[in-house]
């Protein structure tokens, strides 16, 4: 069982946003998608979610996702977009209930199965205490948890999250990373876009690095994020922090050898 993307290409007019991107994502894995701004991370995530027309194939257990109908696909992959938008001041429980849309015939009449899934999702995201709060009045960290709970309520084997820890304070960043770690441990395949190399190297099973619409590296974080790669792709040098339980990279200085992106004509 795995989600496999083969030779994905996305064009916008004459611009190539993604080019021959291939990757594999297995259940139990937490994979972080890294890359500088404009590398194509969000485009790749949206393509996997079926939101962007693309060349190439996305397969689940050798079945082509393009042949599935919208609901089948929705039951397979849950997607959390950037920004955590909520257009109406509905309660957190109502937000999480939207996760049952791919399963339920009607959101106004939820079955006991749906209700149980909503409770489990709220518990897993540690958001039970927020259930009756109005989502537009929550803090950024609380809202991120509720939006993740919405995706968990789908109970899909694959979770795609776009910058789930952006704009969170340190407590919630670590909390969210641990939560994603736990979700993978429980058997989900989790792919998340992040900018934080420290959290990615500490919590990720793997990292996939995009640059200019291509995959430039894919593998175990510390071995993959080599000093050369960090210089060429991110233009930085990093320090390595080793503790008893984990090893992590800490972005430290701008690298002198990298093409300086601040001085482009």
């Amino acid at each position: 069982m795995a989600l496999v993307a083969e030779n994905i290409g996305v064009r916008f007019g004459s611009r190539r946003l993604l080019e021959s991107v291939s990757l594999k994502l297995a259940p139990g894995e937490l994979v972080f998608l890294l890359g500088p701004n404009g590398a194509g991370k969000t485009t790749l995530l949206r393509t996997l979610a079926g939101l962007v027309p693309a060349s190439g194939r996305v397969l689940w257990n050798d079945g082509d996702l393009a042949r599935m109908n919208a609901r089948e696909r929705a039951r397979l992959m849950a997607y959390v977009p950037q920004g955590h938008v909520a257009h109406w001041p509905i309660t957190a429980r109502e937000v999480v209930a939207i996760g049952r849309f791919p399963h339920a015939s009607s959101l106004t009449r939820l079955s006991p199965t749906d209700a149980a899934a909503i409770d489990r999702a709220l518990a897993a995201a540690d958001a039970q205490h927020l259930a009756d709060r109005v989502v537009t009045e929550l803090s950024g960290g609380e809202r991120a948890r509720v939006m993740l709970a919405r995706a968990l309520a789908v109970e899909a084997p694959v979770l795609l999250a776009d910058e789930p820890i952006a704009a969170l304070d340190p407590e919630h960043q670590i909390g969210m990373a641990q939560l994603m770690r736990q979700l993978a441990h429980d058997g989900r395949a989790v792919l998340a876009v992040v900018h934080d190399l420290t959290l990615a190297s500490r919590f990720g099973d793997r990292v996939i690095v995009l640059n200019g619409g291509r995959v430039v590296a894919d593998g175990e974080p510390i071995r993959t994020l080599t000093p050369d790669l960090l210089r060429q792709v991110f233009g930085i040098n990093a320090e390595i922090l080793k503790t008893e339980s984990a090893t992590a990279l800490i972005p430290w200085t701008l690298s002198s050898r990298a093409p300086n992106r601040f001085e482009q004509p």
């Binding site: 909520a86 257009h87 001041p89 849309f101 009607s106 106004t108």
Partner: protein, 340 residues
């Protein structure tokens, strides 16, 4: 089975249904020959003075039924558009759909395609409404940006008004122009069961389509990407709403002229009690729309004036200040977002 219908929402729905019942009876009582409620209820089943029976069954019943149906249809269109566009300022009348429908109907009359009691009239109104709502969606694009929507609505509304003015301008004689003008004001005066029969099928279509699209609107609360990855087919949702709103508004305008702002106001009236989930607003909003239009129609008959006040004028007099209040509230929210 855990249902998401809260006791408060249920209570509101029952209370509104009762209110609609009372208003229906009152609507049958009021007129040049005032009748008491017992006479009215007797006359409905054909008992009592034959004159009263004719007054109630032939004159006031169709008017009452039309008010109820149109109120519900316009409210539902408003709730559906607000849900689809994720915007509390959305409504058919804000985007000029009723003016467009009026233009369609007036054109049909002016071209001699329709006398006032044939299906050509609602069909022409519906086609014009369809074009205007489709143009609005196309102009505003997929984004839910309110400024773009309002500007597009303003443009389309002005265009439709210009079309109606042209029809008035080219009217063959003074009386034809006067008839068009009065019809534009929106009225339920002197409507018959033929009018009901003309509008009801299209309204039924509108209700079916708009109510069927409800669940998708809830998913849209979290944006289009979440809706699409939840299995909502956005194209279908837009199509259902487009055809549903156009046939509802077109049918209403074809039989009663332009009655504005019911669709804008009613969803806001019920939200404090049923919550903001767009799927749960529809049915209570329909009942509130029915009650509001019945009340406005009753008021139009009670208010002393040299000629009967047109109900469309009344709803606009209520609706426009309400719209201004909404804009002010939106503005203060925007300010808070900038500060916070």
């Amino acid at each position: 089975m855990p249902r998401r219908i809260t006791p408060r929402a249920f209570g509101l729905t029952v209370a509104l249904a009762l209110l609609v019942g009372v208003l229906c009876v009152v609507s049958l009582q009021i007129g040049s020959v005032p009748l008491d409620s017992r006479t009215v209820l007797g006359a409905l089943v054909g008992q009592g003075d034959p004159v009263d029976v004719i007054i109630v069954r032939e004159l006031r019943l169709p008017r009452t039924i039309l008010a109820a149906l149109i109120g519900a249809t316009l409210a539902l269109s408003g709730a559906a558009l607000q849900g689809l566009l994720r915007n509390p300022l959305a409504a058919p009348s804000v985007f000029g759909a009723p003016s467009a429908a009026a233009f369609g109907a007036v054109t049909a009359i002016a071209l001699g395609l329709a006398d006032t009691l044939s299906y050509a009239l609602p069909v022409a109104a519906i086609i014009a409404a369809l074009v205007s709502v489709a143009a609005l969606f196309a102009l505003a694009g997929a984004s839910a940006n309110i400024l773009t929507l309002l500007l597009a609505g303003l443009a389309l509304s002005s265009l439709a008004s210009a079309g109606v003015s042209l029809a008035l301008n080219l009217a063959p004689n003074f009386y034809a122009a006067l008839e068009i003008a009065f019809w534009l004001l929106g009225s339920l005066e002197d409507r018959s069961f033929q009018h009901v029969a003309m509008a009801a099928p299209f309204m039924a279509v509108s209700w079916l389509l708009l109510l069927a699209a409800r669940s998708g609107l809830t998913a849209l609360t979290l944006g289009e990407d979440v809706a699409r990855t939840s299995g909502v087919r956005l194209g279908v949702l837009r199509g259902l709403t487009l055809v549903g709103v156009a046939s509802g508004v077109g049918a209403s305008v074809a039989v009663a002229g332009v009655i504005g702002f019911i669709g804008l106001v009613t969803p806001h009236l019920v939200r404090p009690l049923v919550g903001h989930d767009p799927a749960r607003v529809h049915v209570p909003a329909m009942l509130a729309g029915t009650a509001l239009l019945l009340a406005a129609d009753i008021a139009s008959r009670i208010i002393p004036a040299t000629s009967e006040i047109k109900v469309g004028v009344l709803t606009s007099l209520i609706g426009v200040p309400f719209f201004i209040w909404l804009v002010l509230r939106q503005r203060s929210r925007d300010l808070m977002q900038v500060v916070g």
